[in-house]
């Protein structure tokens, strides 16, 4: 018979051992000698915290009542970890990259660093885990009692208090000694690993004992199973699948599981070994459950608590040593769960509830927050641990240890599982938003409370029993265990179904309908695309390489010489030689300031933190950089626009200048020409009038000289008239006297005017075609014709000069051609002839000033037509065209 004192001593000794192990592990880790902590074996063993007293004791109880159904609790996690590539891998990667400290932290960080989501998850976790802690306390207490004589009455709540207090002490000592940025607790992890071995060993020991020493080997066990009340595998399909799903979900979502799997993960590769080693562990733990249950059912009295078969069987067979070992196994499993759960929950509570409240109140009071709030955090964690354990104890004593252990466990699982939709969305769906997550969580939580927690807690109480019977507000469709008429499902499965359905639906719909903040979107990209981002998960460590990197970058930005001077100066100040000083925080700040002068403060900060901080640039930094860049871009756009304008203006000025220069040149040429033309006749007039004045001339000579003077004067007058005419035409102030007349009549007039100086040129006309009537300035038009005909007379050098005048009408144009039979005008001169003062031959012979064709062109242009030289005829040919609108159809 084992006395309670012995038990107490053994447990105390065991706890002391754990303390020592944890302490030693912490010391080794602090000195950097923690190679074993990264080993996959330790990692796999730490995952065993999934197997609590519920596994150790409750599994057998579960099996004794419902057969093989218990195994679903271990099949779920097996499938999850065998499929590590799908979910766990991403979870671990994100956890390491974002330095996630808890599951609430993960969700809060993903949904835009939202305190709301973090707080909801924390509360959910606390509410869900408290019954589970109570469960552990209950199982330890029961196991203590199992060693006492059957006459013991009532629960000895002292045991529970001692256990709770002892666990709080352990957790505080090893979980909150210092604040590790990565939230690694090496001592705790090592202790958990030891406990994993202890519980596995003891359960297998009991199993071996039962199978080979109590029963007669496996075949005997098989026949016992077939003869027992659990011989038939009549597990309901919905329960089989539902419980497997629940266990799988809980494996991911339980705060303690998240903590050991993600937060305490030292190396992603450890998942590979865990993927087969952990299922092996689970299988080993489950292997002897049914044999023990069956043998217990056979051998122990019918009213024995099946939850304790693992203890009571060895005890009843007198194997006290084994019973002690078994007790230790159960104790291990209970304590490991409580330690890790309390730690995880305390982290969540302090980070997501206490610290935000504290910071908000501190800033509201105007108290400046010193950079070191570590003491506050640690203190809040310790308080949280104590509170957590007290809550668990309270729950245990209030429910009085009623109901089978397994029932509470599953309810707790379902509560924690409400995190799943938001979690999966966080990892895989860019569209998941804070609003959706919060709404989904609250919906799931509320439904869980309504369909599972309340019925379990107060299903028989006065205020809830009617609701259970008749539904909320008397509506039968709202009965907690048969919502919307689904009565055929087991209450647990029913609850799982409805909570998951409602949670997921609300999450998806609310996310799709809401807009995420910019921070949320950036975080969602970082999470969902975690495998595409290159993560610098460097540890803190300043190396020479860093100083060199910074020098390289600085050179690029502020120039080689200046950067080197800066660095050399700093090195000298530090008493070092060469170009690479130590990267002290002060110097880093200086460099950053220098860089900010060139690229802007935000960019400089982002670049420096990239190299020095060794972390991915934070989202806030990026936003600041983007702001600055946008400003710079806008400024440079404005500059560009201005310089374009300036260029255009310069071009226009240049063109105008060219035109003015050309015009000025033209004007000079014109003026020189005019003065020449005017001077020539004036010279003759002066000369001859001088001769006349001198007298002593014969009558004949007097007459002759007077004639010459007269001619020259006339020539001068003609020239001046022409000039005036041209000027008037060019200035555009000419008024046209429009009359209607036939071209024939106009030509008659022109020829008559020219005929006075006829030198015997034959003019051929076709009278018929000259019937075309035009509405134009007749005088001016005849002036043009006179000019062309007299030109022909003057310049036609044929022996028998002939002039052909022909008219035609085509395409809205009337063409009048003047073609002589002379030698025409050469190609090179065809364009020049219409310019002012251009004469192709001897001036005197021409008699004119060379303005004739220029005047013609001006006139014809004013009348809306064209005049041009017509090449390719048998002599000189000019074509005048007039638009037909001037023509009125001949009657």
């Amino acid at each position: 018979m084992i006395s309670p004192n012995l038990l107490f001593l053994v447990s105390l000794g065991y706890v002391a051992l754990l303390f020592i192990v944890a302490f030693w592990a912490d010391r080794r880790a602090a000195t950097g000698n923690s190679k074993w902590l990264r080993s996959p074996v330790v990692y796999t063993l730490s995952l065993s915290v999934y197997c609590t007293a519920w596994t150790f004791y409750g599994a057998v109880g579960f099996a004794a009542r419902s057969g093989l159904e218990f195994v679903t609790i271990y099949l779920g996690p097996t499938l999850v970890i065998v499929g590590w590539w799908w979910v766990l891998r991403k979870l671990v990667r994100i956890g390491r990259a974002q330095r996630i400290t808890s599951i609430a932290d993960l969700l809060s960080s993903r949904y835009g660093k939202s305190n709301l989501v973090g707080a909801i998850v924390t509360i959910l976790a606390v509410v869900g885990t408290t019954p589970y802690i109570a469960l552990q306390l209950q199982s330890v207490t029961l196991s203590f009692e199992a060693f006492q004589p059957a006459s013991s009455d009532g629960t000895d709540s002292n045991t529970a208090i001692f256990v709770a207090a002892g666990l709080a002490l352990f957790t505080i000592l090893f979980g909150t000694r210092n604040l590790d940025v990565n939230e690694r607790h090496h001592g705790v992890v090592t202790a958990i690993a030891i406990e994993a071995i202890v519980k596995l060993f003891s359960l297998i020991a009991v199993g071996v004992f039962v199978v080979w020493f109590v029963a007669d080997g496996p075949s005997d066990i098989q026949s016992r199973i077939d003869a027992s009340k659990i011989a038939q595998f009549d597990v309901d399909a919905s329960r089989w699948i539902g419980l497997t799903f629940l266990a799988a979900t809980a494996f991911i979502c339980l705060p303690r599981m998240f903590h050991v799997m993600v937060v305490e993960n030292e190396d992603e590769k450890n998942l590979v070994m865990a993927s087969w080693a952990f299922p092996l562990y689970l299988a080993a733990m489950s292997l002897f459950v049914v044999p023990i249950a069956v043998v217990g059912l056979d051998l122990l009295p019918a009213d024995a608590n099946p939850d304790l078969f693992v203890l009571t069987l060895p005890l009843s067979e007198g194997a006290n040593g084994l019973a002690l070992l078994s007790f230790l196994g159960g104790f291990s499993s209970a304590t490991s769960m409580v330690i890790v759960a309390a730690l995880a929950l305390a982290t969540m509570v302090s980070n997501n509830i206490i610290m935000p409240l504290y910071l908000r109140s501190a800033s509201a009071n105007g108290v400046s927050i010193s950079g070191d709030v570590r003491n506050v955090v640690l203190f809040s964690r310790r308080i949280a641990i104590i509170v957590m354990l007290s809550l668990g104890y309270v729950y245990y004593s209030v429910t009085g240890g009623s109901g089978a252990l397994s029932a509470i466990g599953l309810i707790s699982f379902t509560g924690v599982a409400q995190v799943l939709p938001a979690l999966v969305g966080a990892l895989f769906w860019r569209g998941g938003t804070r609003t959706g997550a919060a709404a989904g969580l609250l919906t799931g939580f509320a439904l869980w409370v309504y369909t599972l927690l309340l019925p379990n807690l107060s299903g028989n109480s006065d205020w809830f029993a009617p609701v259970m019977q008749n539904g909320l507000f008397g509506l039968a469709l709202l009965r907690p265990e048969a919502l919307f008429g689904i009565t055929s499902l087991d209450p647990l499965i029913h609850a799982i179904f409805w909570t998951m359905l409602a949670n997921t639906t609300v999450y998806i719909v609310a996310s799709a309908c809401s807009f995420p903040s910019p921070l949320e979107r950036l975080q969602s990209a970082e999470f969902v695309n975690a495998f595409e981002v290159h993560i610098n998960t460097r540890g803190r460590g300043q190396s020479r390489a860093e100083a060199e990197d910074i020098l390289v970058m600085t050179q690029r930005i502020i120039g080689g010489r200046e950067a080197q001077n800066l660095f050399v100066q700093e090195a000298k100040n530090q008493g070092k030689d060469g170009y690479l000083p130590d990267m002290t925080p002060q110097f880093i700040e200086d460099v950053e300031r220098r860089l900010a002068g060139s690229v802007g403060a935000a960019t400089a900060h982002a670049m420096m933190s990239q190299i020095v901080g060794g972390s991915v640039v934070s989202v806030e930094d990026l936003i600041a950089v983007a702001d600055e860049t946008a400003q710079m871009m806008e400024y440079s756009n404005q500059l560009e626009a201005k310089s374009e304008e300036l260029e255009r203006t310069a071009r226009q000025l240049r063109l105008a200048n060219e035109k003015l220069t050309a015009l000025s040149v033209q004007k000079d040429a014109f003026l020189s020409q005019i003065s020449h033309e005017l001077r020539t006749p004036m010279t003759s007039i002066r000369a001859f009038s001088e001769i006349l004045r001198e007298g002593e001339l014969s009558i004949f000579e007097q007459k002759r000289y007077a004639t010459i003077i007269h001619d020259e004067a006339r020539r001068l007058t003609r020239l001046l008239d022409d000039l005036l005419d041209l000027a008037v035409l060019e200035n555009g102030q000419v008024t046209l006297n429009l009359e209607t007349s036939s071209l024939g009549k106009i030509l008659d007039r022109a020829i008559a005017a020219v005929a006075k100086t006829d030198k015997g040129m034959t003019i051929r006309r076709s009278r018929l075609s000259e019937r075309i009537v035009v509405h134009t300035d007749v005088d001016r038009l005849s002036q043009v014709f006179i000019n062309l005909i007299s030109n022909a007379q003057k310049y036609c050098d044929a022996a028998d000069p002939k002039l052909q005048i022909s008219l035609s009408q085509q395409d809205g144009q009337i063409s009048i051609d003047f073609i002589d039979n002379g030698s025409g005008i050469g190609i090179s001169q065809q364009s020049v002839i219409f310019e002012k003062f251009s004469r192709l031959s001897d001036h005197q012979r021409a008699g004119g000033a060379g303005l004739g064709l220029a005047i013609c062109r001006e006139i014809i242009t004013k009348l809306g037509g064209t005049i041009s030289y017509l090449p390719g005829q048998d002599g000189g040919a000019f074509r005048v065209t007039l638009p037909e609108t001037n023509a009125v159809a001949a009657q």
């Binding site: 990264r38 057969g67 093989l68 195994v71 099949l75 097996t78 499938l79 999850v80 065998v82 499929g83 590539w85 799908w86 990667r93 390491r96 098989q222 199973i225 077939d226 659990i230 011989a231 038939q232 595998f233 009549d234 597990v235 399909a237 089989w240 699948i241 497997t244 030292e266 190396d267 992603e268 590769k269 998942l271 590979v272 070994m273 993927s275 087969w276 299922p279 092996l280 299988a283 489950s286 292997l287 049914v290 993560i535 610098n536 998960t537 460097r538 540890g539 460590g541 190396s543 390489a545 860093e546 060199e548 990197d549 390289v552 190299i611 060794g614």
Partner: protein
């Protein structure tokens, strides 16, 4: 026809490694299906026996463990022989720091 030339298949190792990865990724699917099957056994008159179902479950369980063990070690050994692989785990922190420092200092 003369003896067929050996089929040309380049990069057998990478291909093999990827197929191993595929198998590992699909194991949980197999596992789920296999674990759900017991529900389909038995009928009203002759329900399945706990002992047989139990044996079946543990057999599948062991099979999954062994399969995963074998596949993972096969994959790891093929990693050791050739270069980077499609499921790269993040290297331990100190190695990565050194490689990044090298990369940054170019």
């Amino acid at each position: 026809m003369a003896s067929k030339p050996q089929k040309l298949f380049l990069e057998r190792q990478t291909y093999r490694r990827r197929r191993l990865g595929d198998l590992i990724k699909l194991l949980p699917v197999f596992g789920t299906l296999l674990f759900v099957i017991p529900v389909l056994w038995g009928s009203e008159d002759s329900p399945a026996k706990t002992s047989s179902v139990g044996l079946y479950l543990f057999a599948v369980w062991g099979g999954l463990v062994v399969a995963l063990l074998v596949l993972s070690s096969l994959r790891r050994s093929s990693d050791a022989q050739s270069g980077p692989h499609p499921m790269p785990p993040v290297p331990a922190e100190d190695e990565q720091a050194a490689s990044l420092a090298k990369g940054n200092a170019q």
